[in-house]
């Protein structure tokens, strides 16, 4: 396994794949993120991320049958590999979250200058 940790985008994409289960393919993933996260994400970005995740062995991608919605073409479905599932579980674990929470609420946040914080507030 090449990657030791996941970026936010990768995490989101992996989770979306998990949520969509059988019908996770590039277009549906993009649309789901687009709607659920209330933030615009571009199709090529998702596509590239999926390719990378697949290369890292986190995704497995069988081809599906053709559908009318896709103009009669096959689509590439994505499912999580066991490695990916383990990864997500790792990420969900309390200590990782705790570290995050600690970093956010602990003394570290005070290192950020007040001007920046003000800007963020605004």
């Amino acid at each position: 396994m090449k990657r030791a940790c996941l970026g936010e985008l990768e995490e989101v994409v992996l989770l979306t794949v998990a949520v969509l289960q059988e019908s996770a393919y590039c277009a549906s993933i993009t649309q789901t993120i687009d709607q659920q996260m209330a933030r615009s994400i571009s199709f090529p970005t998702v596509h590239t991320t999926l390719q990378q995740l697949q290369k890292s062995g986190l995704l497995f991608s069988p081809m599906s049958g053709a559908t009318a919605q896709q103009g009669g073409r096959q689509k590439r479905l994505f499912t999580l590999t066991t490695a990916a599932q383990r990864f997500l579980i790792e990420y969900r674990r309390a200590d990782v979250r705790q570290i995050r929470a600690h970093l956010w609420d602990g003394p570290a946040i005070r290192q950020i200058s007040t001007q920046v914080l003000l800007l963020w507030e605004a």
């Binding site: 277009a27 649309q31 687009d34 390719q51 290369k55 103009g71 073409r73």
Partner: protein, 898 residues
């Protein structure tokens, strides 16, 4: 992939709601391999989603953007399967680095070939760049003036001896007519004098400068760059505007504005403006001061008198046309003014005015029977072509050497192909080799151009600066490098990459034999023939230009130029002092003969017509070159008297006498010229008739390429404008000039001493042709040098290729001479073919070039013979070196290798 191209046919919905077709095409053409179907499918679905969320336009926009991002190199190079190679793989940076590395190794491994390749290309490129700069400079002549597109000079044409003559001088009333009748066709109308010398003095500083009298609109029309003062500085008649250089030499660091300077030691003029010097490549570059036209009118009686004379064509008229009109429209309006004013008098001559645009002054100012017929532009194109050809020769060398070496590289190609290179990669490799060579050659070429620029400027009489700062120049050179690299590298790239690996590695398949065997050399041979056709043509051209110049130089001029000095006089100062000065000069021993005259020895300033004589054919409209001379003119110039006698102070009646030249006698059809009376053809019969007292031999005054005009030498009554001095041949010319200067200074302490040697002035008439000859000779020698460089490379390659054959032949008893013949023959045949092609081409072009000159050399066969023999000789010399070297090689060495 086929399903994609008609994908939109299956797309549900009206046709205009489909995703952009071009994006689909791009995707189908360039999508990462293996992903076409799913990408297209997903994208279609996304498109439907986008149509819902952002509307049709937004969806199309996002669709196109997504396609572009998906097919860009970075996004798919990561996802590529290792065994799949795209056509565009050659563009990968790592690959390019690899190509360049290999190219560099190839270059350094064969230093000899590389030197010939790069050196030849560098010379070719240097020549092309230099000529390019020269052509650019020529084509942008006069572009300093902002309104050069709208500025014109008015020319007039009229029928003279059945032929339409076109000249740039016009009568004064034309200006008044244009201002009164056609004012709204023009933005500026500027009457001007010719450019003349003037003595400017301020305090005890005194300089002689060239300048013009011009009307007040001149600075605006010429968009002069004012450094001080106003563009309206010519409104007052007693003002003067100076070029920066003139102001500097008069005032140094002082502020010149408002100062009074003395002009020609007589007039006080106030400096009202300083303008930046007009750069070299402009028609007005010699105008280093401008004095109001009104000043000239007020102080020069004959100019004042010309105000209403349509017959005195001594002036220049420049105009800037109004914004809403064209040169053609204005010409159509004004062309008949003179006829409208004076129909009865001029109908026969059919005088017409025309506008010659400023852009044409320098390049297209020749007129043939009233029709504009090129001019300098011919030379510009000629050199442009030569530059292109020289570059082509250099590129041919490159191609030839690369293909000739193909056999050596064939194995490399075979190995690369069998290891998995595809053709596009090999093309990429060979092209990057050619890019590397061209880039190196370009660096050398730039250095060459930079170093030789001053010499080139001298040779071409130019002031071209190396355009470091010019963005367009660098843009052009970049395109130039790319084109040259593609031109030079395309053939080897396509040729070498087409080898089949099996055949190459086996050594001799049928297809390989076809390629490298009998016919492989054919394109190479054609290129060599082309090279030599160009080179030999250039040599023939150079010889003919050179001969033409020599021929004209040796033309009998009808007077003795050696030791003849001409002193230009400023008007007024010298009147009535001639006899006194002459006595002093003759007495000093520095001068053996002297005369005064109205025009320089090397030019005709005036023409006259309208004379009657006995036996004049009716309806004969004669016109003569007219020269006023003092006694001793014939003697001082060393002219030959054919009949009668020279003017002499001993005959008081000589004040109404004339001399004719031989051409004039023939022209007038006189059997017994001496004693003929020449009367002015006017009704009141005023004025004394002029008696012909002698005939002199023809004297070349104008262009040495043209026939001599019928000329009349009349006894000088008015003021002279030139003194002719025959220096004492027994005395050192420098000493004599010093003596003359001393006497001159004594008599005219206020005037700077100026003089010209007539032989130098005459030699200047050849400057254009000599320059063309020198440049052509220079380029021709470079062309032949480049061609020979190519031959040298080719023959050394041939010799190397046939080392084994030569070894075997030697072992079997062939002599060095035999082998030399064997190797040289092939090339000699090529050069002979080239020569045969050259002869008709060169004959045609040179013949039509010579037609421009009335006094010209004939094309003789020996010129061609010399060029051909020369070319053959040089070829032999080049080839023999390699041939003999190969023939002398020890066969033991060459045969032992395998």
């Amino acid at each position: 992939m086929g399903g994609l191209t008609n994908g939109e046919g299956r797309f549900p919905g009206p046709p205009d709601s489909r995703p952009p077709r071009w994006a689909d095409w791009l995707l189908s053409r360039f999508s990462p391999s293996g992903l076409e179907d799913e990408l297209q499918g997903d994208l279609l679905e996304m498109y439907i989603y986008w149509v819902k969320t952002t509307g049709l336009r937004g969806a199309r926009w996002r669709y196109a953007l997504a396609v572009l991002r998906l097919i860009r190199p970075l996004s798919w190079s990561m996802t590529k399967q290792p065994h799949e190679i795209s056509h565009f793989f050659i563009l990968h940076p790592a690959m390019i680095r690899n190509y360049l590395k290999i190219a560099w190794r190839n270059l350094t491994r064969n230093i000899g070939y590389s030197a010939i390749n790069i050196g030849g290309l560098a010379i070719g490129m240097a020549v092309a760049v230099m000529i390019g700069l020269w052509v650019y400079d020529e084509l942008t002549y006069n572009h300093y003036h902002k309104n050069h597109d709208q500025i014109a000079q008015i020319w007039q044409s009229s029928v003279k001896n059945g032929e339409i003559k076109t000249r740039f001088t016009v009568p004064r009333p034309l200006e008044t007519a244009l201002r009164n009748v056609y004012a709204n066709s023009f933005k500026h109308i500027v009457m001007s004098s010719w450019t003349l010398d003037g003595v400017l003095s301020y305090g005890n500083r005194k300089v002689v400068k060239e300048g013009n009298y011009m009307q007040p609109d001149a600075p605006n029309m010429l968009s002069l760059d004012m450094l001080a003062g106003q563009k309206e500085g010519l409104r007052e008649p007693n003002s003067i505007m100076l070029a920066a250089s003139t102001a500097k030499s008069l005032f140094g660091t002082e502020n010149p504005i408002g100062r009074i300077i003395k002009f020609d030691n007589h007039y006080n003029l106030k400096v009202t403006g300083i303008y930046a010097d007009i750069p070299f490549s402009n028609s007005f570059n010699t105008t280093t001061f401008i004095i109001p036209w009104e000043h000239m009118v007020a102080n020069t009686p004959w100019v004042k008198e010309a105000a209403n004379s349509w017959g005195n064509n001594s002036f220049r008229l420049y105009v800037q046309i109004a914004d809403n009109t064209t040169m053609e429209q204005v010409t159509a309006k004004i062309k008949d003014i003179k006829l409208n004013v004076n129909r009865a008098e001029y109908a026969k001559n059919n005088p017409q005015f025309l506008l010659l645009p400023m852009n044409d002054w320098y390049l297209r100012s020749n007129f043939e029977n009233g029709i504009q017929s090129g001019g300098r532009i011919d030379t510009v194109w000629l050199f442009g072509c030569i530059g292109g050809f020289v570059l082509l020769l250099a590129c041919i060398n490159f191609m030839n050497l690369s293909t000739a070496r193909s056999q050596k590289r064939a194995k490399e190609v075979g190995v690369r192909k069998s290891v998995g290179s595809v053709r596009s990669q090999l093309i990429g490799q060979f092209l990057s080799e050619s890019f590397l060579v061209v880039a190196l050659a370009f660096l050398i070429a730039m250095t060459l151009v930079f170093v030789t620029m001053p010499a080139f400027n001298t040779l071409a009489s130019k002031q071209i600066a190396f355009p470091w700062m010019n963005v367009y120049f660098w843009g052009a050179t970049l395109i130039f490098i790319l084109c040259t690299a593609l031109l030079a590298g395309s053939y080897p790239a396509l040729y070498l990459s087409s080898f089949l690996p099996v055949q190459v590695l086996k050594g001799a398949g049928p297809s390989l034999r076809f390629r490298v065997g009998r016919f492989a050399a054919l394109p190479r041979q054609l290129l060599v023939v082309l090279q030599f056709t160009v080179s030999v043509s250039l040599i023939i051209g150079t010889i003919i230009v050179f001969r033409q110049v020599q021929h004209t130089k040796n033309r009998p001029v009808g007077y003795d130029r050696a030791g003849l000095v001409s002193i230009p006089l400023t008007e007024g100062e010298f009147d009535g002092k001639y006899e006194f000065i002459r006595n002093e000069l003759m007495g000093s021993g520095a001068v053996v003969a002297m005369s005064a005259t109205s025009n320089p020895t090397t030019d005709v300033a005036y023409g006259r017509g309208g004379f009657l004589w006995e036996g004049k054919p009716a309806d004969f409209r004669a016109s003569f070159a007219w020269i006023w001379v003092s006694p001793d003119y014939v003697k001082s110039l060393g002219m030959r008297i054919i009949a009668g006698r020279d003017f002499s102070p001993d005959f008081p009646s000589d004040s109404n006498a004339i001399l004719l030249n031989k051409t004039a006698v023939d022209y007038m059809g006189l059997k017994d010229p001496v004693g003929t009376l020449l009367r002015e053809d006017n009704t009141d019969n005023s004025g004394q008739p002029l008696t012909v007292i002698g005939v002199v031999d023809d004297m070349v005054m104008e262009s040495p390429y043209d026939p001599v005009q019928p000329s009349v030498y009349e006894f000088n009554k008015g003021s002279a404008r030139f003194y002719n001095l025959r220096l004492n041949p027994a005395q050192n010319a420098r000493e004599s000039i010093a003596t003359v200067e001393r006497i001159y200074k004594k008599n005219f302490p206020n005037l700077p001493f100026q003089y010209r040697f007539v032989d130098q002035e005459y030699a200047a008439k050849f400057s254009t042709e000599e320059r063309i000859g020198k440049l052509a000779g220079f380029f021709a020698s470079l062309a032949i040098f480049i061609s020979c460089l190519g031959l040298f490379g080719l023959s050394s390659f041939m010799a190397e290729q046939r080392t084994k054959e030569i070894g075997i032949r030697k072992v079997l008893g062939a002599s060095v001479t035999n082998l030399w013949q064997l190797l040289s023959k092939d090339f000699l045949v090529l050069v002979i073919v080239a020569c045969l092609i050259t002869i008709p081409i060169a004959y045609y072009f040179m013949n039509s070039w010579l037609q421009h000159y009335t006094y010209r050399v004939e094309l003789s066969w020996w010129i061609f013979a010399v060029a051909i023999v020369g070319a053959l000789f040089i070829t032999l010399l080049t080839v023999s070196f390699q041939a003999i070297k190969a023939a002398m090689l020890d066969p033991v060495k060459s045969l032992r290798t395998e």
